[in-house]
């Protein structure tokens, strides 16, 4: 596949360009003027339908882009496991993370059971978002999307790791 795709936020100035070139993908800051396909979407509210410009002229790019940008969601348990695998060795992380899905009461325990433990409770959708890198952990806590049991220290470290996770896992 070959083509240039621009993503724009409908609520602020965030924008990025993805260049596909036969197996190579290049990500750039900002919306490039040569983008054949421009998708404008609300990053904060996935219920708002995105606006797509250029899909008729670039149907294959549009189809491929929709697959790349909307990967099948992993179960919250898998998202939490991936996050824990990334974050568990960071200094000051809790020894144990207990995640409780309030939809059905199922639980997942990560790390070594015992104190200090940090608990995160939420719906499957909220847990997917909180651990999947599509939202900032503290914001989800402040918004009441997830409920937590633990210290401010651990909330801070969880948030710092969540920001790093959202940025691809390599941010400090």
């Amino acid at each position: 596949m070959k083509g240039v795709l621009a993503l724009r936020s409908s609520v602020d100035f965030q924008a990025a360009t993805i260049r596909f070139d036969r197996g190579h993908v290049r990500l750039e800051s900002g919306a490039a003027p040569d983008a054949g396909l421009v998708i404008t979407l609300n990053f904060d509210d996935d219920s708002v339908k995105p606006k797509v410009k250029g899909a008729l002229r670039h149907p294959l790019l549009g189809l491929a882009a929709s697959k790349v940008l909307d990967p099948p969601a992993r179960p919250w348990r898998d998202e939490a496991a991936a996050f824990w695998s990334f974050a568990q060795n960071a200094p000051r992380m809790p020894r144990s993370l207990l995640v409780v899905c309030t939809d059905d009461g199922t639980r997942a325990q990560f790390g070594e059971p015992g104190e200090p433990e940090y608990q995160v409770h939420g719906t499957a959708k909220a847990l997917q978002s909180a651990f999947g890198g599509s939202s900032i952990f503290l914001q989800d806590v402040l918004d009441g999307k997830v409920l937590v049991v633990g210290s401010l220290e651990h909330a801070s470290i969880m948030t710092g790791r969540s920001i790093a996770w959202a940025m691809g896992g390599d941010a400090s």
Binding site: D12, F13, Q14, A15, S29, G30, R92, I136, L138, S151, L152, E153, A155, S156, I157, T159, G160, I163, A171, S172
Partner: protein, 450 residues
């Protein structure tokens, strides 16, 4: 301590990470009862960014396990009457824990630690911070209603400085500022209308570094309070408009046993070995210190060629395009003018970073690179340009173990985290990363607070 006769309110003045002045208004009785530890305040004061968002993304040992108090320990030598508000006195404070232990991220205590290290090397410093800012005829409420754009500068809207009849237009405002400064016992040397429309600069006599930072902090407060009372608005943003930005140059020199230590009449160019090493240290640590000297997203808009701000790590005798302007033509005048700082600095941390760089130089006997006798703007990228973004500066600081050792590892770690936080907030809460000029995000974040 001054006589508190006639005083019924004491205001505490503590400076947080971003340079904002934070404190309480206390009844005189409560203030006296609180001594020596001072009034309690929430440790949240070191938690919030300038938009009121809690910076809950890292942790340091000085923090309370949950949310707790720290204390604002008054420095009673700084207790002054506020002459334009009868009955009010003001006292600068340091931040300590409930057990009296010093909070390692307190900017004023950080500067004190650096000054102590300088003294352990056998030297004392004298310093002064030049204050630049912009004053507009609109009140803060009016400026806010206009989105802080298209404001009316007090004076002639031309990019010219030193125009005395322009200064005359500013004089009712500046006279009141001066009256209030003098009423607080703050000495001043000179003020001018500076090059940008509505821009002023005020200079102060050299003092010990902590007092110099105290003066800068109090002077900025006086400017903003006077603006409020006179229906104007003042900002110390580095670059609130597309005209020249505002800087905060730091003049400083060292003494040994009370005698000037930078001048040596027998040395080439009159520069003592100590001065050479001091310059060498400032140059070696300049990329790292840059984080403290250009602290905000907006600071970097000032860092442009031919905009009066240095952009390359350079030094020279009497060259105002270089980062360090060195003056060594006489023992009386011998000093270094560090020209990198923008007006939005935290005066304590900027001063500390500069002194720490010099200390690194004298402790490691660092010789400076060659002097830059050309104009240090418009140079090719082979020259050592200073970091161009808030995150690049933070990375440079993180990599400089010598500077962070003198400044304090906990302080620097906290600072680096806050700068990365600022970058994250800019990019995720409405900042326009592609903008070539000041953004609404910057104006909304900084105009009134800085």
């Amino acid at each position: 301590m001054i006589d508190l006769e006639g005083i019924n309110v004491v205001r505490t003045e503590g400076v947080g990470t971003d340079g904002l002045v934070l404190g309480k208004h206390l009844s005189r009785a409560k203030f006296e009862r609180s001594l020596p530890l001072g009034p309690a305040v929430s440790d949240l004061m070191f938690l919030f960014d300038m938009r009121g968002t809690p910076q809950v993304a890292w942790w340091d040992d000085w923090r309370q396990p949950a949310l707790g108090d720290i204390h604002q320990r008054p420095d009673l030598d700084t207790l002054v009457r506020i002459s334009h508000r009868p009955g009010l006195a003001s006292c600068i404070v340091d931040h300590v824990g409930v057990d009296g232990a010093e909070i390692p991220v307190c900017p004023r205590l950080t500067l004190k630690r650096v000054v102590n290290r300088l003294e352990a090397n056998g030297f004392a410093a004298r310093a002064a911070i030049e204050i630049e800012g912009m004053v507009y005829t609109e009140s803060y409420d009016e400026a806010r209603a206009k989105g802080y754009r298209d404001l009316t500068p007090l004076g002639i809207p031309l990019a010219l400085g030193y125009i005395t009849h322009d200064a005359y237009r500013m004089h009712p405002f500046m006279d009141e500022v001066i009256r209030r400064l003098e009423g607080m016992g703050i000495q001043w040397d000179a003020w001018v209308d500076e090059a940008a429309p509505g821009q002023f600069e005020i200079n102060f006599p050299a003092q010990d570094p902590v007092a110099a930072a105290d003066t800068a902090m109090r002077a900025r407060s006086v400017f903003k309070e006077t603006a409020i009372d006179m229906g104007h608005s003042v900002t110390f943003m580095a670059k609130p408009t597309d005209t020249y930005g505002s800087g905060a140059h730091v003049h400083h020199s060292l003494t040994r046993d009370g005698e000037p230590a930078f001048f040596d009449a027998n040395a080439p160019d009159n520069r003592s070995e100590l001065m050479r090493h001091w310059i060498g240290g400032l140059m070696a640590t300049m990329p790292a210190a840059h984080s403290f000297l250009t602290p905000t997203i907006n600071s970097y808009r000032r860092m442009a060629d031919f905009q009066a701000a240095p952009v390359v790590a350079t030094w020279a005798e009497e060259n105002k395009s270089t980062a360090l302007r060195v003056i060594s033509r006489s023992e009386k005048l011998a000093r270094v003018e560090h020209r990198v700082g923008s007006a939005d600095i935290n005066p304590y941390l900027a001063m500390a970073a500069i002194l720490a760089g010099g200390i690194v130089g004298i402790e490691q006997a660092i010789e400076p690179p060659p002097e830059t006798t050309i104009i240090a703007w418009g140079l090719p990228d082979t020259y050592p340009y200073l970091p161009r973004t808030i995150t690049a500066s933070a990375a440079a600081l993180e990599a400089d173990k010598a500077l962070t050792d003198v400044m304090g590892a906990v302080m620097c770690g906290h600072w680096i985290n806050t700068r990365r936080w600022e970058w994250t907030m800019f990019h995720t809460t409405g900042g326009d990363a592609g903008a070539k000029t000041v953004t609404d995000w910057e104006l909304n974040s900084y105009f009134e607070l800085i």
